[in-house]
């Protein structure tokens, strides 16, 4: 039987439709119809699921940070950890372009990003530095770090001249 859409290629896919007779289509026409339907779909996850399903994924590719695999990403449309964005970058960039029509961020950045991380992260980072300083017997640096950690854990009250 010939495909009922292109009438050229042999029909291999039996596609049920909401009203009327089911249709016989070739693989290429069925994929094109599915893409059109997904593009018109109003369910927020339909387009994403469709696009992810369409990716050619090496199932054994895994994130070194959390072990999440590309196959799990395809099944759930979700990633395992923030590092997955780096691990699956080559898969994700084309997907992001199709989902968002952009591939780089505009807009807010964390206020304390970069040189001034959040308080919890600062404490963790200073503690690690303190351990290193003690191990290296750099007691002057260790004393300064200890003071810094103390201030972070229990900041002194702002004085009357504080901005």
């Amino acid at each position: 039987m010939k495909c009922q859409a292109c009438r050229i290629r042999p029909a291999t896919i039996h596609k049920p439709v909401a009203a009327g007779e089911p249709r016989w289509l070739c693989e290429r026409c069925a994929a094109a119809e599915a893409r059109r339907e997904a593009e018109n779909a109003t369910d927020p996850t339909a387009m994403e699921a469709f696009l992810v399903d369409d990716l050619v994924i090496g199932a054994d590719a895994a994130c070194p940070g959390c072990g999440w695999t590309a196959a799990r990403f395809r099944d759930t449309q979700r990633l395992g950890c923030p590092a997955c964005y780096g691990a699956f970058r080559s898969l994700l960039m084309p997907l992001l372009g199709r989902l968002h029509r952009h591939v780089s961020h505009l807009g807010r950045a964390p206020r304390l990003a970069g040189s001034e991380p959040g308080r919890l992260a600062s404490i963790t980072r200073n503690r690690a530095a303190l351990e290193k300083a003690i191990a290296a017997e750099d007691f002057e640096a260790a004393a300064a770090l200890r003071d810094r950690i103390r201030n972070l854990e229990d900041p002194p009250p702002a004085g009357p001249d504080a901005p």
Partner: protein, 349 residues
């Protein structure tokens, strides 16, 4: 005190009524998705790890002034009726995970809520009645800024805030409008409008029910693009598109009125009579009647009724609220009787 002791009386902020275009846009929600750096996303964390991080996040959110007098609901400890109640108020999504280590935090006025450990570690929500993208965006960004003093978010300079779904990466911002669109539904124009919104990268779902089972002509319209646009631009674009939708709905209502005024008036009065007098009301009938009455009030066919009353009826006549009120599970017949009784009392002349 548990949130559920007084839950029946508490209207979510979006349902208070009023606000810009309040007759068509019931409410607006801004949602920011955030994750803590160097932690697996909740879908990849063990229940134990979820509980551990949830405990820290509950403390951090609870320390914000807005949540000082609020509630924290551990979803795995909530009963089926309580979970239904949260979904009926639209404070919890229909597919929200409710197993271990998932928490919902609610500010006393319900203008701010935080879902902890759903798809992402934090979903910050701000709610207002009517169309109000600016206020909801400001509220949610303010909360985010407060939390960033203590949390280092998963962020990349290139891709912005990193989320469990690539569909939310970048700003992590989704603006949603909860809309009543009976004019477009009755005139058969709704599919055309929804398809056009799809082309604009907007998603439309039922407020209750999805696909062909959208109930009471109630829809949620949300932006899909979160990457490559600034937060304010997303909010401004959202306002423009929702205002267009409001205009289409008003035109559809006017055309219906011109074509079929007598039938519309009859439908509105007949529906009000059912709400005031019927002894058994099914869930589907309640949706339809309440939608007809709301349209009748908006068009001036019926005497004025406070929008908050209609919202209270819409939320309160659902299974979770009825069962919480009765203090026990109810079968379909008892629910129909309890629903009719609740509606009669609310709409009594």
């Amino acid at each position: 005190m548990s949130f559920f002791v007084t839950a029946g009386q508490r209207l979510p902020a979006w349902a208070r009524g009023g606000g810009e275009h309040g007759d068509i846009v019931l409410g607006t929600r801004a949602c920011l998705r955030r994750n803590v750096t160097e932690e697996p996303f909740p879908g990849n964390a063990s229940p134990r790890d979820r509980r551990r991080l949830a405990a820290d996040l509950v403390l951090l959110v609870g320390a914000r002034p807005a949540f000082a007098e609020g509630w924290s609901v551990t979803l795995s400890a909530a009963t089926e009726a309580e979970l239904r109640c949260l979904r009926e108020k639209h404070l919890l999504g229909p597919r929200a995970a409710v197993d271990e280590g998932r928490v919902l935090m609610l500010a006393p006025d319900l203008e701010l809520t935080v879902q902890i450990q759903q798809e992402d570690h934090l979903h910050l929500h701000a709610w207002r009645p009517g169309l109000d993208p600016a206020a909801t965006l400001a509220a949610v960004l303010d909360l985010d800024e407060q939390l960033e003093q203590d949390i280092t978010p998963a962020y990349s300079e290139n891709l912005g805030y990193l989320t469990a779904r690539p569909g939310h990466v970048g700003t992590g911002l989704t603006m949603s409008a909860l809309m009543h669109l009976p004019g477009l539904v009755y005139s058969g124009e709704i599919d055309k409008v929804l398809n056009a919104l799809g082309q604009l990268q907007y998603a439309v779902t039922g407020l209750y029910g999805t696909g062909s089972t959208v109930r009471g002509a109630l829809f949620v319209v949300s932006n899909l693009v979160t990457l490559g646009r600034e937060e304010e631009e997303i909010a401004a674009d959202f306002r423009t598109n929702i205002e267009k939708l409001v205009t289409y709905e008003m035109m559809a209502r006017e055309q219906l009125e011109q074509r079929d005024a007598a039938n519309l008036a009859d439908l509105a009065w007949r529906s009000l009579a059912v709400l005031r007098h019927a002894r058994l009301v099914s869930s589907q009938e309640a949706w339809d009647r309440l939608s007809n009455v709301r349209l009748g009030v908006d068009r001036g066919t019926l005497p004025p009724l406070a929008p908050a009353l209609l919202n209270r009826a819409m939320i309160g006549c659902r299974t979770g609220h009825l069962e919480l009120g009765a203090g026990a599970p109810l079968d379909a017949d008892r629910r129909a009787a309890a629903r009719a009784s609740f509606l009669r009392e609310l709409f009594a002349e």
